[in-house]
Amino acid sequence: MSRRRELIRYLGARMALVPLMLWLIASLVFLLLRVAPGDPIDALLGPRAPEAARIALRHQLGLDRPLINQYGSFLGDLVQGNLGISQHSQEPVRAIIGASLPASVELGMVALLLAAVLGLAVGLSGIARPEGRLDLAGRLFGISTYALPPFWAAMVVQLVFAVGLGWLPVGGRFPPTLLEPQGSGFFLFDSLRAGNWAQLQGTLRHLVLPASTLALLLSGIFTNALRLNLRRALDSDYVEAARSRGLSERRVVLRHALPNALLPVLTITGITVASLIGGALLIEVTYSWPGIAARLQEAIAQRDYPLVQGIVVVVAALVVLVTVAVDLLVALLDPRIRF
C-alpha cells in the first residue's frame, strides 16, 4: 500500500473515532455533573429561597424531568450543534464559548511561541560543551521551570512586575480606559486589522505577564526535550558520518542533527497546544484572564450544567482534532513513520 493511502486510511480511522470519543466524554460529563453534590437551584437562588420559587425554577430549567429525558434532549441538541442555554446567564452556551475561547487560545499561542523560543534557545545552549556550565545551567533551568508551581510563579511575577514595579497591569485582558477591539475575539489580530495602535499596545501590555509566566512554565518542557533528543542525534551514526565527511560543526548540528531532534519536540508541542486549548486555569485565575478555563471553573461552581457540558465537549473536540493534526504533520515530516 502506498504511503499516501496508508495516511488516508489512518486519518479516516482516527476521524471515525471522534464521534465515539465525544459521545463518551459528553455522557461522562453529563452523568458526573448529576452525581456530584450540589444543586444549580441553590447556586442561582441561594439556599433559602422559598420552596415554590425553587420548584418553579427547577421546572423552568427542565431539571424536574427524568434524567433519561434530560440526557436524550442533551444528546439530541448536541447532534444538531446546539449546546443549550446557560442556566446562570440564560445566554446560549455557544456564545459564551465564542467569547471565552479566543482569549485562551490567544494567550496559549503567544505563550507557546515564547516558550518555544526560550526553551529551544536554552536547550541548544549546552550542546557545544556537554556537562559544561551552560549545559548544567540549561538542565537546571529545564527542571526548575517545569517544577515551578504555576500559581506561585504567577503570583510572584504579578507582585514584582505589576504591584511592586508597576510596569504592567495586574490583570485583565484589556485596559478599562479603551474600548475593546471588535471582531474575532482575538484582540491582537483585531487591533492589527483595525490598525488601532492604542488597542494593540493595550492588548500587548495585558498579555505580557500572563504569557511570559505561562511561557516560562512551559519552556522547561522544550528545553529538556530538545536537549535529550539533540544529544541522542549528535551521538548517532549519520551525524558521525557527516562529521567524517568534513562538514562543519555548525552544518552538522543545524542541517543534520537538529531536524531529527525537533520531530519529538513537535509531538510535545502538539500535546502542549492541546492542553492549552482548555486554558491554563491557574494563570487565567491569577491574572483575571477571561478565558475558557476560568469560565469553566465558574460554571462548575455555579453548577451550570449546560455550560460545563458545552465547554467540555467543545474543548474535547478541539483537543482531538489538534492531536490528529499533529500526528499527521509528524507523519508527513518523518518518512520513517508507518501506520
Binding site: 456530584a36 453534590p37 450540589g38 441553590d42 447556586a43 442561582l44 437562588l45 441561594g46 439556599p47 433559602r48 429561597a49 422559598p50 415554590a52 425554577l57 446567564s89 440564560q90 445566554e91 534557545a121 536554552v122 541548544l124 545552549s125 550542546i127 557545544a128 560543551r129 551552560l134 545551567a137 540549561g138 503570583m155 504579578q158 507582585l159 505589576a162 504591584v163 514595579l165 508597576g166 510596569w167 497591569p169 495586574v170 490583570g171 485583565g172 484589556f174 485596559p175 478599562p176 480606559t177 479603551l178 474600548l179 499596545q201 493595550g202 501590555r205 505580557v208 560543526e249 555548525r250 548540528v253 485565575v285 491569577t286 491574572y287 483575571s288 477571561p290 476560568a294 461552581a301 453548577r303
Partner: protein
Amino acid sequence: MALSPLTPLTLPLARLPRLRSRLVGLATLRRWAAAMALMALPALLAGCQPARPSGLLIIASSSRIDSLDPTQASRSGIMQTLSALGDPLYVIAADGTITPRLATALPQLSADGLRARIPLRQGVSFHDGTRFDAAAMAFSLQRFMAIGTLSYQLTDRVRAVRVSGPYAIELELLRPFSPLPRLLSSIFLTPVSPRAYRNHARSPLNDRFVGTGPYQLSFFSRQQQRLTPYPHYWGAKPANSGLALVSLSNSTALYGALRSGEVDVLLSGNLEIDHQQALHREAEAGRLRETVGPALEISLLSLLTDQPPLQNPSLRRAVALSLDRATISQRVSLGLRPPLQELVPPSLPGSDPKAWPAYNPTEARRLFRQAGYCQGRRLELPVTFRSDVPTDRLFALTWQSQVRRDLAPCLALAVSGMESTTAYSQLDKGSLTMLLYDWAGDYPDAENFLTPLLGCSASRGQRCLKGNSVASGSFWSEPGLEAQLQDSSIQTGPAREALLRTIQRRAAAATPYIPLWLTRPVAWSRRQVSPIRFDGSGRVVFGELHLEGQP
C-alpha cells in the same frame, strides 16, 4: 560569565577556531545591546500606558457580571452597577430614612392594607429617550414577576400590578405588608424601557441596559463595563465624566491594582483579610481613603435542632456560650468583622444587639455538666465550614482551639470543610449538625433576615417540617412564632420593632442559630478621589465620586 539572550546561539558556533576571535567581539557587542535593551524595557513599558480620558474613574471589584438585566440580578456586584444605571422607586439613606426617588410619595395604602397606590415622578426619560410613566413601571414590575430570579420577593407579596393613572401604579397585595417601601427600594425593581425590552418581555436582555439612572451603559463585557453620564438625567448630574468598572478575579490582583494606582476605587468584595488589613494600614497612614458602609451581611452557625445531640436546647445554649466572638473576630478578621449577637444587622429597625448571650465559659460548663458532660464524658460536635471561603476555615480552626483551651473536658469540635454549593444542598436534608454560612437580605429590612431563617409553614411542636427553617438547616420552630413573623410584616413603627425584638429573643432562647459576626462593605480609594459615600442599602453612590481638582 554573564549570559546574554543570544549566548546560547553563539556558543555552538564558537567552537569553530577561525571564527572565535570575531565572535568574542561580536558576543561582547551583543551582550551590551541586550543589556541596553533590558534597561530600556521598563521605560518603554511604563511609557506605553494608555492615556486616561479626563475625569474617568476606574473602579475595581471581584464581581463578574453575566447580565445587566435587573430580572437576573441576585448578587451584590450587579446591584452596585445597576444602582448607577437605574433608579429605584425609593432609596434608603445611610441613617435609614426612606425617601421617594422615582415615586413622589410613600405608598398610599387602602383601609384594608391590600392595595398600595404609588404616585410616580414626571419628566423622567429612559436612556433611549422614551418617557418614564406608569405603563413603563408596570411593564417592568410585571416582567420581573414573570422572569426574575428573585421574583418570589414580589410574587410572594403582590398579586397584581396595575396602572391607575398616567403617573400612578397600584399594587394589589396578597396580605398587608408594612416593609413595602423597603422592598420597593430594591434596585432589581428598577424600571426598564418598554420599547428597548419589547422583544425581551419574557426573556432576559443581558448585555444592554436601558433605564432611567444617572449613567447610561456605553460598553459591556463580563469583565468590564463603561458608564457615561446620561445628559438628560432628571436628578443631580454625576460629578465625574464616566466610570470604567473592571472585574479582577483574585484578592492579590485587586489589592495590587489599587496599590499600583491602576484603579481609583476598590470595592472590597472578596478581598482577603490580610489585604484588607494592609489597605487599612495604608488608609491610617493617609496614603489611601477608606470608607465603611452599613453592615447588611451576617455570618451565623445553623444548629440541627431535631436530632441528637443538639435537640437539647440547654446544649445548644451551652455551645452558644462557648463562642468567644471577640477573640475569634480579632484573630480571624483582625477585628474587621464586628462580633454579632443577633440575627438582624444593628443598623436596621428591630435590632436587639444583645439578644444572644455573650461568651461565658463558666455558664457553658455548668450547662454541659447539667446535660451529663464534663465528668469524663465529652461532647463531640461536628462543625462544617465552607471550604471555598478562606475565612470560614480560619474561624472553624480558631474556635476549635479556643474550645480546646477553655472547655476541653466538656466539648470538642470536629471541623471539616465542604464546598459551599454542596453544603447548601445538604442543609435541608438534616445532614449537617452545625454549618457556618452568611446571609444578606435582598433588601434592608429585619423581616428579610428573620423570615428566611425562622419561617416555617408546617411544624409539630418545636420541629419545623416545612419552610425556611428547614432550608436554613435548623428545623426549628415554636408554636406561635410563624404568626408573630407574619404579624411583623403588618405592624408598623415602634410596635413592629418591639415585635421583631420579641421574635429574636424567642429564637435566642432556643438557639437554633448562633450569630457570629457582621461583614461590612468597605471601599478604598486613592487620595485624589473625593470621599466615598455609601447609601443605606450598602452601595457606593458612584455619581458623587470625582478626582479632586477636576470638578
